[in-house]
Symmetry: C2
Subunit: 296 residues, 2 copies
Amino acid sequence: MNAELTSFLTETKEQVEKRLPQVFENLSIPETLVEAMIYSLNAGGKRIRPALLLGTIQSFGKPMESGLDVACAIEMIHTYSLIHDDLPAMDDDDMRRGKPTNHKVYGEALAILAGDALLTYSFELITQLDREDISTEQKLLLVQEISKAAGPEGMVGGQVADIEGENRSLSLDELVYIHQHKTGDLLTAAIVSGAIIAGASKDDIANLRMFAKELGLMFQIKDDILDVEGDQDLIGKPIGSDDGNNKSTYPNLLGLEGAKKKLNEHMSNAKEYLYKVKMNHGLLLTLTNYVAERDH
Amino acid sequence: MNAELTSFLTETKEQVEKRLPQVFENLSIPETLVEAMIYSLNAGGKRIRPALLLGTIQSFGKPMESGLDVACAIEMIHTYSLIHDDLPAMDDDDMRRGKPTNHKVYGEALAILAGDALLTYSFELITQLDREDISTEQKLLLVQEISKAAGPEGMVGGQVADIEGENRSLSLDELVYIHQHKTGDLLTAAIVSGAIIAGASKDDIANLRMFAKELGLMFQIKDDILDVEGDQDLIGKPIGSDDGNNKSTYPNLLGLEGAKKKLNEHMSNAKEYLYKVKMNHGLLLTLTNYVAERDH
C-alpha cells in the first residue's frame, strides 16, 4: 500500500479508537450494558468508515477533528450491525476478528440490547455535537443521511435481501442490490457525511455520493476476484471458499475476465465522479487505485 | 372513563393507525421486511404515547396534525422494543395482544431486523418532516429527546436493569430506576416532543418533563395496586400474579397502604408541575385523575 495512505489509515484508526470509549464517559448506563457496547467497539477492524469520513473532510481542506464524533457514530452503527449479524438466529458466529462474539461473552439478550443501544446512541451523539463549525442544519442532514443509509431502505434492507438470497443463485441485479445496501450505503454515508461536515456544495455532495457507490462496488468485485486468484496466505481464507454453498459472486456470474472488466468500468466511473468535485483529489484517488490493485 | 378522554383516545388512535402504514408507502424496502414491520405496528395497543404527544400539542392550542408523524415515530420505537422483548433470548413470548409475536410469524432473524428497521426509520422520519410549522432546530431537538429516551441511558438501560433484577428482590430505588427508564422515559419523550412541536418555552418543557415523570410512576404504582386488589375480570390477569417469582412491586416493598400513599404523593406532585405550565390543563388533568382512579 502507498505509504501516504498507510499512514493516513493508521492515524485515523488511532484517533477513532482513542475517542470511542470517551463518548460514554459521562453517561449513566448500567455497567454491563456499557461494557458489552465497548467490548465490541474495541474489537478492532480497519475503521474504514471513519477513515473515509475523515479523509473526505481533509480533502476539502477542513480540520479532521470536526468529524471525529460523527466518525465514531458511524463506527457504532457498523458495530451494532456486526453484533446482530453474529447472533445465533442470524449467522451464528462464535468468533469475530479472533475474539468471541458479543453474545458468546454477554449472552444473547445483552448482545441484542447492546446493538440496540449502539444504534440509538449514535443518533443522540450527532445531535449533541457542540462545535461552532457544525450548524443545526448540518447536524440534521447528518442524522438524515446516516439513518437512511442504516435503515430499511439501506443496510437492514440489504441484510434481509442477503438472508433471503442464501442457498439460491442470484441474478446480477440481486447481487448488486445486496452489496449496495448491506455494505455500500453506510460507506457512502461516511463519505457524504464528511462532505456535509466540510460544508461542501450540493453538486459536490451529489458527485461524491456517486463516487462512493462506485467505490463500494469496486471493493466487493475485487474481493470476489481475490477469492478466485488471490494468495491464500495474504487474504486469510481458503481460495475458492466462495464456490461452496451456491454462493453468487461476480466471477461466477460474469466469468473472471468479465468481473475484471466490470471492476475497471467502476474504477473509471469512480474517478470521473471524483474529478468533478472541487477538492484535493489525492487521497481518495490513491484509495481508489488501492482498492482495485490490492492483493489482499 | 371520562367521556371527553375516551373520545380523545379513540380519535388519536384512529389517526395514528391510519397514518402508520402510509409512512412506508413510497419507500423501496424488501417486501417481507416491510410486511414484518407493519405486522407489529398493526397489532393494536392503546397508542398511549401518540395520545400523550398529540394531547400535549392540543393543550397548547396548536393543531394536532403537526405532530402526527412524530407520534408515529415514537410508536415505531415502542413497537421495536416489544418485538425485541418478545424474542426467545429475552421474554420468549409466543403471543402478544392475542396475535402470534413477530418472530413466531417471520422467524427470529427477520424479527430482529424488523425491530432494527423500525428504530432506525423512526429517526429518518423525523428528519424528513416537511412542515412549515416545524423548524430545523425543532426537528433536531426531537431526535435528541427521543434518541436519549430510547437509548442506553433510557429504555435500553431500563430493560437491561430489569433483566438483571429478575429472580431477586429489588430495593425501592432499583424498582424506580427500572420503571423510569424501561417505560417512563419514552412516555416522557412523547409529552416533551408534543411541547417541542407546539413551540413551548424552556420552562414549560422543564415542568412538563417533571409532570411526565410523576405520571409514569403513578401509572406503574397503580398497576401494582390493581394487581393486589383489582377485579380479575377487569384487569385481565389473575389477581396476585405479581406475587410469584420474587417479583418486586410497590405493595410488596411499601405495603398496600404505603403504595397508595406513594401514588397520592406522585399525583399531587404531577398536578403541581402541570399547573405551572402555560397551557389548557383540562385534558392532562383528566388523564392524571384517570390514571389514579382507574379500576383496570
